[in-house]
């Protein structure tokens, strides 16, 4: 799958100095942006759904 392959690819940079691995800046950014963005989108969608629900309830009455 393209998304998981991409994350696996950017997750770790080989550090030539130590021949070990370190987390790449792109990976750290993804790890922070994904939950923040999903949290905000979820809050927005929840707000929209609640508003729509109220409108539908009022129409039914």
């Amino acid at each position: 799958m393209a998304l998981t392959d991409f994350i696996a690819q950017v997750a770790r940079d080989t550090d030539p100095a130590t021949a070990g691995y370190q987390a790449s800046a792109v990976y750290v950014t993804i790890c922070l942006v994904v939950p923040i963005a999903l949290g905000l989108v979820g809050a927005l969608l929840g707000y929209v759904v609640e508003k729509l629900g109220r409108v539908v309830k009022r129409r039914i009455r």
């Binding site: 799958m1 998304l3 998981t4 392959d5 994350i7 696996a8 997750a11 770790r12 691995y21 370190q22 987390a23 990976y27 750290v28 993804i30 790890c31 922070l32 994904v34 939950p35 923040i36 999903l38 949290g39 905000l40 979820g42 809050a43 929840g46 707000y47």
Partner: protein, 311 residues
Amino acid sequence: MELHLPIADVTVSPVAVVLLGAVIGFLAGLFGVGGGFLGTPLLNLVFGVPYNVAAGTSLAQILGTSISAAVKHRGLGNVDAKLGFCMLLGGWVGLESGARVVEALKKVEPVTIDGRTVVGLDLFIPIVFLVFLPTVATVMWRESRRAQKREPKGGMVESSLADRLQRVQTPPVVRFASSGVPDMSLPILLAIGFGPGFLSGLLGVGGGFVLVPTLIYAVGLPTRAAIGTSLFHMIFLSTFGTFTHAHKGNVDPVLAALLLVGSIIGARIGASTTRRVRGARLRYWFSLVVYGAAAAVLAKLVALLLLPRMG
């Protein structure tokens, strides 16, 4: 349909992960806890995610869930942002201090039990949990059972500790108009924030089940406001935790995203449920969740100590 996760290096059913996220999210919205004490062991036990990745991913999930749930609680008037910020300063210092104690404990010599070497930290942290969690749960359980008979809906808890702390008026004194808490001394608030932060750093959890009782019994916040303010506070603590874990390669963003799809929906349902439940009843349920967390820790400690003997 199965999905291979690149960082955790396991194959999971996305539907099962979303369902687990929904349960954790519901608890988060209802009780103001992140659910790390539940999410981390379950990711490890059910899906075989390594503990370090489970802990890091759980923190990323807590970050998204607490944003969504805190926005909902803010809409319900349950978040005192000023109080959250005041305690956050103490919380960060506490978090760093707790993390340093952990680093110091890592240097303690391992002990040998039935020929198996056990790191001191693996013994020390569950023991702290087992002293602390049942104490918090018992205090809340007893108080909430008494209060269910007489507390008005959404009312404040009668706490002698909060009364005493509110009488200390060492400047600067901060006013909290939104939550109805009397003016409180900033140094006292910083000290109160330090405690849950320290335990978070020491025990490696989000700290909601420490912070909510602290806000109720030490600050005197009504239960629903304590839940909302705890979630607001957790946004900042979990951002710091996610960043630290991501640096170590311990966060699986795909797994976190799947958990979040479920937990965001669960968190909104949980937050909405707080409107229909009395504060004392919420604290009573919360105490049962904390007892459950203590039982999970006890089971883990027993396994650590007895399994080598059985093997």
